[in-house]
Symmetry: C2
Subunit: 521 residues, 2 copies
């Protein structure tokens, strides 16, 4: 079904049931518990249907201008008929469901977000209605203590001394990376916070060392905090896109000789492009010797902490000064729920330095000791921890570990399979649930291999049966699968390969017919 057909189905499927119109002028009605129940009932019915649909499907994109017009028509009721509130709500939910990436389908192998644990979604409803912004104990008693509990639960797998480390929840991996790098900056250059650029000796040029393959939020952080993107030192990576240990010392020496003061080294566990794991243990030793803050971006991979099978990939993480874990990636809760860990609790107060009478109590007491506003960027913070904790409490760590183990396992199986296919090339042995590869049939010009992958990805998207992503590795595009859905089997992947071959050979045929370059987007 094309994207446009799909749109029409969304709008047609609104029912003709008895309606429950509210008096729109009455606040009392809009806020009534009865209306809440009715609307919630509609949402649950639609979502249950959605969760029940395990058909294999991807996602074709709709022309945004057409989608925009569809929504405007729905808003202005241009169809000439009066649409009831309930029907509008149903139409909106249909449209929302059908125009989104189908994360619950076995056709979904494309990105780093998961079909969430349904209980976590349910709990978002609770959090929204009780509305407890959680940077202060007073406004969010339960989330504040639950942050401590989850910190201790997860520290079982890290092993820091009790009470000496810190875990801060914040709104996304980018914000957590920024926060940690700020803490590093303020720890190493204490005058930076108040004096800014003016406080540094002319000769001191602070710099950050990062993997060539780090997430864009890391270099963005350098631009934001006044270090400057030019003062990013790129650490070379090997073929697996891990930081090359034997080149690190040399690069750092060279940076120092050129007048740079490297105060922070950012490693990754689970890079975005290939899921590569940097050698934390050894990098920690180098950082310690040089008095550099080691920050680990584990947005994707730090969740392996909970898996007995895979924890060893994080060897040395307890030596990092800070690390990030996105629970909305590999712990399968809704975006966003990011955990930022500090080895040394005191240093978690370095990131921000502040006073404000209406928020920060002048006299600390038993309550304010649980406030997190001095450690997290947000003033109003959604009680992010609650979704994760309620799932942890009811299902235990085994749910998370089982799903992680399963996803890593299927990725390995798929990799083994690809090794036996002569017309495919894999770019790496997968370290987690991300795998990059290329389709390289006979007859394809080597110079066109990258554009060819991109065309295949776009055709797959258009055909709407599978959803995969693409990535540029060393300047050449590759196909990328991320296994986040535990319903995906090797059989589904084989169906994907069949699709890729069919599309690829078709494209090749067209090229050979037209004898022109295949380069389009």
């Amino acid at each position: 079904m094309s994207a446009i057909d799909n749109l029409e189905v969304c709008l047609r499927s609104v029912g003709e049931e008895e309606d429950f119109q509210i008096n729109k002028n009455t606040l009392h009605d809009v806020f009534s518990p009865q209306l809440f129940r009715r609307n919630a009932g509609i949402a649950i019915e639609k979502l249950e249907q959605h969760l029940s649909d395990r058909s294999i499907r991807g996602l074709d994109l709709i022309d945004p201008d057409i989608l925009l017009q569809t929504v405007k028509n729905l808003m202005s009721e241009q169809a000439g008929m009066k649409i009831s509130d309930e029907d509008k709500l149903k139409a909106i939910i249909n449209l929302y469901i059908n125009t989104g990436i189908q994360v619950h389908s076995p056709g979904y192998m494309g990105r780093q977000f998961s079909g969430v644990i349904p209980l976590a979604g349910v709990f978002d409803l609770v959090s929204s209605i009780v509305n407890q912004p959680s940077s202060f104990y007073e406004a969010a008693q339960l989330p504040s203590v639950v942050e401590r509990i989850m910190a201790d639960e997860l520290n079982q797998f890290i092993g820091w001394p009790e009470g000496q480390f810190a875990m801060v929840t914040t709104s996304g991996g980018s914000l957590a990376n920024l926060t940690a790098i700020l803490a590093a900056r303020n720890d190493k250059f204490p005058q930076f916070w108040s004096e800014g650029v003016a406080g540094l000796h002319k000769k001191v040029k602070p710099a950050i060392a990062v993997s060539e393959d780090s997430h864009y939020s890391v270099s963005r952080a350098a631009g934001i905090i006044g270090i400057g993107e030019d003062q990013i030192i790129r650490l070379p990576t090997n073929a697996k896109k891990q930081i090359c240990l034997d080149k690190v010392q040399h690069v750092l020496d060279k940076a120092e000789q050129s007048g740079l003061k490297v105060f922070c080294l950012v490693a990754s566990v689970g890079t975005t492009s290939m899921g590569a794991f940097d050698p934390i243990d050894e990098l920690a030793e180098i950082s310690r010797e040089r008095e550099i803050w080691l920050h680990v971006d584990g947005a994707h991979g730090a969740s392996l902490l909970v898996s007995d099978q895979h924890r060893l990939k994080l060897k040395g993480i307890e030596k990092a000064d800070s690390f990030v874990l996105d629970a909305h990636k590999m712990l399968f809760v809704p975006a966003m729920c990011t955990l930022l860990f500090y080895k040394n609790k005191q240093k978690s107060y370095c990131a921000f330095n502040q006073e404000a009478s209406y928020v920060f109590e002048k006299k600390p007491d038993i309550y304010t000791e649980y406030d997190s506003a001095e450690q997290n960027f947000e003033c109003t913070k959604r009680p992010l921890i609650m979704n994760l904790w309620v799932c942890w409490m009811l299902y235990g760590k085994s749910l998370f570990a089982n799903k992680i183990d399963h996803l890593c396992h299927i990725t390995q199986s798929v990799y083994q399979q690809l090794l036996t296919e002569h017309d495919f090339e894999t770019l790496h042995s997968p370290e987690i649930n991300i795998l990059c590869f290329r389709y390289f049939p006979d007859g394809l010009e080597p110079t066109q291999i990258g554009d060819f992958q991109l065309m295949i990805r776009n055709r797959i998207r258009k055909d709407g049966k599978f959803f995969i992503s693409k990535v540029d590795i060393d300047g050449t595009t590759a196909l990328r699968v991320v296994f986040m859905n535990h319903e995906v089997t090797l059989e589904h992947f084989n169906q994907l390969l069949t699709e890729i071959r069919r599309i690829g050979l078709d494209l090749l045929q067209k090229v050979s017919n037209s004898n022109q370059s295949v380069v389009t987007r």
Copy 2:
């Protein structure tokens, strides 16, 4: 009922109904649509009860260590009995509801968050299950076009030329302030992003001018982005805590003479402490003359845009280079939903400067034109706009305007009432729904007035009938009410005054008996 009794009730009230145990080892069961429906049913029943409870109540705080232990007991089932998953979920929801600020009660007059529009809460459930992180059109088609639609809807009240302005959604007012100030920094000092501190001439000291009474996130931003908190220029305020227009030019002249280059002026519409509105129209003229970026922190007050009665308070906001609006404050949706507006669309791309192949497509197309990742800080961003839009679509602007008008009206009534009470002093004529005042009975030593207010606030909190806040104005504590609940009437406020008098006189009696200082927290 004391906080501890309350705790016990939460835990006792779990039922003994038939249970639906899942096989915890099976991913399939945890992700099943049937379990989703059952859990959602439990949540809705609890929340409907909660919304139906309109009794007058505040919130006593529980000792965090006791709450922590309670939660741990619940987790470890120390009571010696096996608690079913359903009963655990019920106990958690009870605990969550009962330990939170009772935003739906008429006793709630304390903070800037509201009992949310229930439909917005319901829609958070939908957003969580469909899980569409929305910085890229591909991953969130509907939220991406809806951002454009809401931008145009709100621009009706601003009046910028179509297509020439920008609205960006982001995770909270602090992040929006940071983003706007970064855009200003990079616009005025284009080399700052890549060169950082090293790129500035020794003589240039960038500075930011802010109201004496601005939100802490603004000076925090100066610390974060490398300007330095010392380079914050404080603009003096009048008795109403608005920036004093007749002092601005002098302060800016003096700053320049001392070698500072003020590149950004941050005004507020609706300060946190007193809800003061700075004179935007005149500040815009001063900023224009001096080529300073004018940013307006309208986290609390910019929502008055939708009110015909109150829009005039924002006169000149269309002349600001950027402004912030927290829809999770005065548009009554769940935290967080922040809107950041730019007068000039091009400048919205100044805040961040970036390349990353796996996220930013090298060849722009009709889809990537709708991506927001280059304008917003987040890579993974919750589809924040959806809650606001669905309420706007179903209820129209009138719901928001009616509630705002009602809240401003009750605040005025309360103020008029206080003017007639000889033992109270008001600190200002309220400009929005925030009012600060002090209880000043005969016999109170003027030197003790601040501590006295604090003790009253704490006793009111402890008694659990009302929830109000406190604020320091010119170094002396005052009581502060924020009317976010449209169920609050003048009658409720009079009951609060009765409480304040009862508690105050009781405290005064104790002091006179003990003849000691009343200063405790």
